[in-house]
Amino acid sequence: MTVALSIKEIASQIEKKYPGSIEEAAPNSLIVKSDFLLAIAGYLKDTEGLKFDYFNYVSAVDYYTYFEVVYQLTSLEHNHTVIIKTRCYNRENPTVPSVTGLWQGANFQEREIFDLMGIRFEGHPNLKRIFLWEGFPGHPLRKDYLQ
C-alpha cells in the first residue's frame, strides 16, 4: 500500500535544510515557495530514506488570485508518496522552475501546462506549445479564458 508520508515530518526536515522555504504544510500536501522548488525537489529525490525517484504527474490549478502547481512524487523503493505544491501569484507572467532536469517525465507535462495554463517553466529545454498551435490566443484552462 502506498503510504502518504506525514507532511509534518517532511516539512520539518526541509525546514531544517532550507529555512523559510515552506509556505504552508497542509494536511495532505506541502506548499513550498517557488524559489526553493528545485532545491527541495532535488532534496526529495536524492535523500536517503525519501528517494522520490518516480514522478507521477504535474498539474496546475487556477485559483483566480494565484496558480497552484501540483507535483506528486512516489518512491518506488519505499513505496511512499508525497504531494508538493507551489504557488505563483503573478498572473501576467507566472513562472515556476522546471523539474525536467530531475525527472524527464515532467517534460511533456510541463509543456502541456505551459500550453493550456500559461505557466512558464524556467529551464525547460523545449518550452513550446504542445497541443495547440503557435499563436493560439490565450490559455484555455485558465478560468478567465473566454472563447
Binding site: 498539474s59 493550456l116 484555455p140
Partner: protein
C-alpha cells in the same frame, strides 16, 4: 577521394515526416524523423491533432456527466478510464462502493486489460510486418470480450458503465455463463497465437535487443505499465497501492529483463494470463447485493482535492480532481499514460533503423485520444 584511398562521401541527414496520417502511427501521432539513410538520428514528436480539451470540458459538466467523456480518453480501454475517474470522485466524496459492484468492476477492468492487450500485441506484431494475421486473430479475441461488454452496458466502444458509487446497472443473468465460456476458450487462443509468433526467428531478430529502455531511464521518465515492467521495474499499482479489491486476489507481476521490444511484448502476453487468473478468482465469488451506493445524481463532493490512480492497461492512469463543492469539478487533470510513456521514445529510437522506429513505437502502445485529450 583522399590519397589513402578512403572515399569520403558527404551525406546530409534528411527529414522524413511520419504522420499524422500514416499506417502505423496508431491514430494521428506525428513525428519528424531526421534520418541518415535508414538510420534514425533524431525524432521530434508533434502532438495535438486530436486535442479536444477534455479537461476544460470537465469543468463544464456534472461529475456524472463527465463519465461518458472519459470513455473518449483512451478509447481502447474505456472501462479503465471510467474506473479511474469514478475512484477519484469517490475518494473526493468519501463514498463506499458495495461489494458486488467492486467485484464487477474488477472483472470489467481485467477484461478491459485483456481487450487492450489484444490490440496492443496485435498492432505491435503487425507493426513488425506480420501482414495483419496476428492482428486479425487478436481482434477475434477482442470481439468476444466486446460481446460481453455489449451485453452488460449496451455499447461496444464507449461503455459508460461505471458510476460514482458503483456501476450503472447489474450484470444480466446470462453474463456469468457467457464469461465462463469465454474463460474456457481464451487460454487456448493465447496458446495459439503464442505458437504463431513467439519463437519466430524473424520476430526475435526484429525485436530482441531493439529499443532498449534501461530501468533507470524508465523510472526517470515516469514510464508506467507494461513498458516499465518490460524494463524490469516491478511496479504495479494493483499490488503497490491496491484500489478496489485487488488485495484479495492472487496474481503475479510479470517483468522483463532487458527492456527491449520483445520483453514488452512478452510482458503484455503474460499479463493477459494473469488477468485471466484474476477474473477466474473474481467470478467465483461475486456476491449478491446492490451494485450502486446511494449517490445523488448531481453529486456535490465537499471542497477539496483528490488524486486516484489505477493500473490501466497502458500504465498508471490518474485523475486529479479539485472540487469547490459545486456540481461540476473545479479542475480535472488527467494523468495521461500514453503521453508520459512517449517521453522516452526519442531516446529509445536514436541510432535504430526506420523499421525499428515503427516497431519501438508500436511496442509502447499508445492511444492518441489519451495523448492529446
Amino acid at each position: 577521394m583522399t590519397t589513402t584511398g578512403e572515399i569520403t562521401f558527404k551525406t546530409e541527414p534528411f527529414v522524413l515526416n511520419f504522420g499524422p496520417v500514416h499506417p502505423s502511427t496508431h491514430g494521428v501521432y506525428r513525428m519528424r524523423a531526421t534520418l541518415d539513410g535508414e538510420v534514425v538520428l533524431d525524432i521530434e514528436p508533434v502532438f495535438g491533432y486530436l486535442h479536444r480539451g477534455i479537461e476544460k470540458l470537465a469543468e463544464e459538466r456534472t461529475y456524472t456527466g463527465f463519465i461518458p467523456l472519459t470513455d473518449r480518453l483512451d478509447y481502447i480501454s474505456p472501462m479503465s478510464n471510467n474506473l479511474g475517474y469514478c475512484l477519484a470522485v469517490e475518494k473526493l466524496a468519501g463514498i463506499k462502493v458495495p461489494e458486488r459492484a467492486e467485484y464487477i468492476r474488477v472483472i470489467m477492468a481485467e477484461l478491459q486489460r485483456l481487450a487492450n492487450h489484444c490490440i496492443a500485441v496485435g498492432s505491435f506484431l503487425s507493426d513488425c510486418g506480420a501482414m495483419f494475421t496476428p492482428f486479425m486473430y487478436m481482434f477475434r479475441e477482442r470481439e468476444k470480450i466486446l460481446d460481453l461488454f455489449d451485453m452488460v452496458c449496451g455499447g461496444r466502444l464507449t461503455y459508460n458503465y461505471m458510476r460514482i458509487g458503483g456501476v450503472s446497472q447489474d450484470i444480466p443473468d446470462e453474463f456469468l455463463p457467457a464469461l465462463q465460456k469465454f474463460m474456457g476458450t481464451m487460454p487456448g487462443m493465447i496458446e495459439e497465437w503464442e505458437n504463431l509468433l513467439k519463437q519466430n526467428e524473424i520476430l526475435l531478430a526484429r525485436t530482441k535487443g531493439v529499443g532498449i529502455l534501461p530501468r533507470e531511464m524508465a523510472i526517470n521518465c515516469g514510464i508506467s505499465g507494461p513498458v516499465a515492467r518490460g524494463s524490469g521495474v516491478k511496479w504495479d499499482l494493483r499490488k503497490a497501492d491496491p484500489y478496489c479489491i485487488y488485495d484479495r486476489f492472487e496474481f503475479d507481476i510479470p517483468t522483463g529483463e532487458v527492456g527491449d521490444c520483445y520483453d514488452r511484448y512478452r510482458v503484455r502476453v503474460e499479463e493477459m494470463k494473469q488477468s485471466l487468473r484474476i477474473i477466474k478468482q473474481a467470478m467465483e465469488k461475486v456476491p449478491s447485493g446492490p451494485v450502486r451506493a446511494e449517490v445523488p445524481h448531481l453529486i456535490r463532493p465537499p471542497a477539496g482535492e483528490a488524486y486516484a490512480h489505477i493500473e490501466a492497461p497502458k500504465g498508471e492512469l490518474g485523475f486529479y480532481i479539485v472540487s469547490d463543492s459545486s456540481i461540476a469539478p473545479y479542475r480535472c487533470h488527467v494523468r495521461p499514460t500514453s503521453l508520459i510513456n512517449l517521453t522516452a521514445l526519442r531516446e529509445m529510437v536514436k541510432g535504430w533503423k526506420v523499421a525499428d522506429l515503427i516497431a519501438i513505437f508500436g511496442s509502447i502502445d499508445i492511444t492518441m485520444g489519451e495523448v492529446d485529450r
